[in-house]
């Protein structure tokens, strides 16, 4: 059967099992939108801004593990998607972005709504394709999905000139069963010599720490990680991107490490004799000063990406491959040496960690404050959200203090439940990504923990939530200012609060939510907190926007001292280790 380029494109997406496509129409994409109109297998979600489309597709991808798909028009449609593509790129999230382009003969003439999208997006995509002729569309889509979802995952862009989707030109459509790109061959299984060296180092260690990041989630290696922990009983810390891959309530869990990581996680890393790094990339929010990082530790670095290993911290042993395959190999090898595993020798190490936790661990009982003489603590708000949702919700966040409080105080027992922009730190991510999660899991509780700064960066998506009836629960941790910037100004600029306040011009969030047809709740007192949050979560069929006024002067602690080692932490205002 012969079909046109626009139908080839859409049928190819359907062949890939795409359920939702997030987008915004415009001139160069109109033929493609006509194809969408003529089919029923895939639902298009019309957002209010292209950034929202990319974040929604991203949230869908993070929650399901399947690639998120975005469709935008040329020019401003494409450039508006850039922030969301960069967000997905930094966190290695599989995404397909289809951007309309002006007609082939107009390319390079500064035509209406023409932007060199391949050029603009080049540094922030895993790969990109320009469609050159209709006969190649199916193969390009298949290659794009293959590249986006294998190896170290990431966004792949397909730029489609309008004339190549013209409904009048018909071509044969055959979707390839499988694709092979000869210059692309990511490792899957590790090599035996790497595995045996890693196992020897593990068996010799007395103070090991497992440091697991987002790659462990991308690789769906949560079960294998638990099995490793069952075998060697090592303490586990997670990066911001890794939260949930190891149960947050497990007795061996240290909490998050890094800039705002727990005291015990950072101290354990600093004093470890072996760091088992799993799909984590030692970025600057983890290591602090690299030359002072974990001075006594041997490092085993597991990663699918060669270029991540020994980029920042030199690895003593590298294990290349998908984390899932590598952990299976390690666990199997360990089982053959079960007599040599002596977990009792770790007792002093566990005792030391427990002492650190006792000394400066986070206070998880702040939700018990009911007294209205002081302001609501943002930490207490997150703890109430955790309690009232029984720790089972999907939680998306934006970027700033509320994000760190959510990461510290909401314990995730499963992977893919914590959805946040870790690498790029994109404000505006929380609400649209929650839409993608809710579409993927309509029967699950989906919570967005945000701040009054971040939420205003993509607040237009409240309208999309009305249109598609997405009953997300938004908790706005409202401290009347850009809290994280304010904290840095308090600590590094003698409290000169430059351009962080908009207190007099904030909208009435309750009224705003109601104007979109949602429910709004305002909470200003400790005594209202539990009841208000419980009420919001009890409303099943409506989006609820809960505006929680918190202490405007609170800081996030612990916090790494700039250019220090992992043991150099601010513990509270004016108090350092």
């Amino acid at each position: 059967m012969k079909i046109a380029g626009n139908d080839i494109l859409i049928q190819s997406l359907i062949n890939e099992g795409v359920e939702y496509i997030f987008g915004y129409p415009g001139g160069a994409a109109l033929h493609i939108y006509d194809s969408i109109f003529n089919q029923k297998e895939m639902q298009h979600i019309l957002v209010r801004h292209e950034q929202g489309a990319t974040h929604a597709a991203d949230g869908y991808a993070r929650a399901t593990g399947k690639p998120g798909v975005v469709l935008v028009t040329s020019g401003p449609g494409a450039t508006n998607a850039i922030t969301g593509i960069a967000t997905a790129f930094m966190d290695s999230i599989p995404m397909i972005i289809i951007s309309g382009q002006v007609q082939s003969h107009l390319i390079g003439t500064d035509a209406f709504q023409e932007t060199d999208m391949i050029g603009v997006s080049r540094p922030i995509v895993k790969h990109s394709f320009t469609v050159d002729k209709q006969e190649n569309i199916a193969n390009i889509v298949a290659e794009a999905f293959h590249i986006a979802t294998s190896g170290r995952q990431g966004p792949v862009l397909i730029d489609v000139p309008k004339d190549l989707t013209n409904p009048d030109d018909l071509f044969d459509f055959v979707y390839p069963d499988k694709v092979h790109v000869r210059s692309y061959n990511p490792p899957t299984k590790p090599e035996n010599h790497q595995v045996s060296r890693a196992v020897d180092a593990i068996l010799a260690s007395e103070r090991p720490v497992i440091y697991a990041g987002g790659g462990t989630i991308s690789s769906n290696a949560s079960k294998e990680l638990r099995e490793l922990n069952d075998l060697i009983d090592a303490p586990v810390t997670n990066t911001l991107m890794g939260l949930g891959v190891f149960p947050g309530t497990h007795k061996r869990f240290l909490g998050m490490l890094g800039m705002h990581g727990t005291y015990q996680a950072n101290m354990a890393m600093h004093n470890a004799d072996l760091i088992i790094a799993l799909g984590a990339r030692f970025d600057d929010r983890i290591t602090n000063a690299p030359d002072k990082f974990a001075p006594r530790a041997k490092v085993i670095h597991f990663d699918v990406d060669h270029s991540s290993v020994s980029k920042i911290i030199e690895a003593d042993i590298a294990v290349f491959g998908q984390i899932k395959d590598s952990l299976q190999a390690i666990n199997n090898h360990l089982k053959t040496k079960i007599d040599e595993i002596d977990n009792e020798k770790l007792a002093p190490w566990h005792q030391q960690i427990s002492d650190w936790k006792e000394k400066h661990g986070l206070n998880h009982d702040l939700y018990k404050i009911e007294d209205d003489s002081g302001p609501i603590l943002p930490q207490a708000a997150v703890q109430h959200i955790y309690q009232e949702s029984q720790g089972k919700a999907f939680v998306t966040s934006d970027v700033g203090q509320h994000q760190m409080f959510a990461a510290q105080y909401y314990h995730f027992d499963e992977p893919r439940k914590w959805i946040n922009s870790g690498g790029l730190g994109t404000m505006g991510f929380g609400l649209p990504s929650a839409m993608g999660v809710k579409l993927a899991y309509p029967d699950e509780e989906v919570i967005c923990i945000t701040g009054e700064g971040s939420i205003q960066m993509c607040i237009q998506e409240l309208s999309t939530c009305s249109q598609y009836k997405l009953p997300i629960k938004i908790f706005n941790i409202n401290n009347l200012a850009l809290g994280m910037v304010k904290q840095w100004q308090d600590m590094n600029y003698d409290g000169r609060h430059s351009s962080i306040s908009y207190e007099d011009s904030l909208p009435d969030f309750v009224g705003l939510a109601e104007s979109y047809g949602h429910v709004g709740i305002k909470i200003t007192k400790n005594s209202e907190l539990k009841k208000g949050i419980a009420k919001a979560l009890s409303i099943q069929d409506r989006l609820v926007f809960v505006d929680i006024y918190v202490d405007p002067d609170e800081h996030v602690y612990p916090m790494q001292v700039a250019n220090g080692s992992l043991k150099d932490l601010w513990l509270s205002k004016g108090e350092k280790t």
Partner: protein, 100 residues
């Protein structure tokens, strides 16, 4: 690397993006495949004339950064193999690497 539109821009862009400097650059399509038979053998592919190009870049950096540059270039989808005086990287296969 594959002789495709945009492939050169990806390599050159990578140098700028990651803060590496290019001293000189030369690119042309490969006509004599004899020196590259080992790549064909290892990857199980057969090059045709006009399909692939050789790009030679001169840059002045230390060993550690050189290794990182090679690995970053090797990650680009259209790059088939990359080498310096000491190491050769093929897609998914690490040869002769001095460190790991």
């Amino acid at each position: 690397m594959e002789n495709k539109p945009g492939a050169l821009a990806r390599v050159v862009g990578l140098f700028h993006q990651r803060g590496y400097n290019i001293d000189s650059l030369h690119v042309d399509p490969i006509e004599d495949f004899e020196p590259f038979r080992f790549i064909e053998d290892e990857l199980g592919i057969k090059f045709q004339v006009g399909e692939v190009s050789r790009l030679t870049i001169r840059t002045t950096v230390g060993d550690k950064l050189m290794r990182q540059i090679l690995r970053q270039i090797n990650k680009l989808i259209e790059v088939i193999a990359v080498s310096d005086e000491e190491s050769t990287y093929l897609k998914g296969i690490l040869r002769n690497e001095n460190l790991l």
